[in-house]
Symmetry: C2
Subunit: 134 residues, 2 copies
């Protein structure tokens, strides 16, 4: 009740993340996996793991492991970078695209629910306020 606003914000965010996770679980995805697939589908071509890490705002060792799991799921495959023998690139598979599309559907449903829950407030003002936070 008399909680600090930062805690309210974090609590609300965790709650929403829970909704996303639950929705994605129904299509056999986790949030990190869906996020990675989203980047790869958007890019629509093989992408170096470093670049993927940058887009996901995380360290490279994390992407190595995430791509391991995505590869084990058959959603992504690693290919050699022809122009740099150090490099490895990730490419989304057909199954990966399908899974991503399924994820997108359920994620959008959660977006709608959240918007509905915030129907009483000025959402653009709220969004502006949130985006001031760095």
């Amino acid at each position: 009740m008399n909680e600090k606003i930062a805690f309210s914000l974090i609590h609300a965010a965790h709650s929403i993340e829970g909704h996303f996770e639950k929705a994605l679980a129904a299509v056999n995805l986790s949030s990190p996996k869906f996020a990675a697939l989203s980047v790869l589908v958007e890019e629509d071509q093989p992408m170096s793991l470093s670049e993927l890490a940058e887009k996901l705002t995380c360290v490279r060792s994390n992407v190595t492991q995430l791509v391991d799991r995505l590869e084990a799921d058959g959603l992504v495959k690693r290919t050699d970078d022809p122009s740099d023998r150090r490099g490895v690139r990730a490419e989304v598979t057909k199954l990966g695209r399908e899974r991503h599309a399924a994820g997108l559907k359920v994620v959008n449903r959660v977006h709608e629910e959240v918007a509905k829950q915030l129907s009483a407030v000025d959402q653009s003002a709220l969004k502006r306020a949130l985006d001031t936070i760095q």
Copy 2:
């Protein structure tokens, strides 16, 4: 820019969590450790790990590990529950209380910063909006 409001919210929350983590790191604490110490200091008496898990909204196996680490740091000690031989209770040590006090200081500084960053918005309205989200 044209991002969904749920993502704005999650992004803002992660940013703030990062600030808390960085501030706490300066006093040798993590967010989970600080949260656990906060509960134990507030309670001010030995507390069963189950109860601690409930207060922290996490599963018991997580608390087992967290208390392992807190105990290794000398911030908490386990004691037997005299009324239930299955039970184990966690008790904050003197060092734990000191560390928690130090953590509270830096955490409050972050709260102030966040409030300052949101100075342009109606914070009670924002807080009410956030608290509608379940």
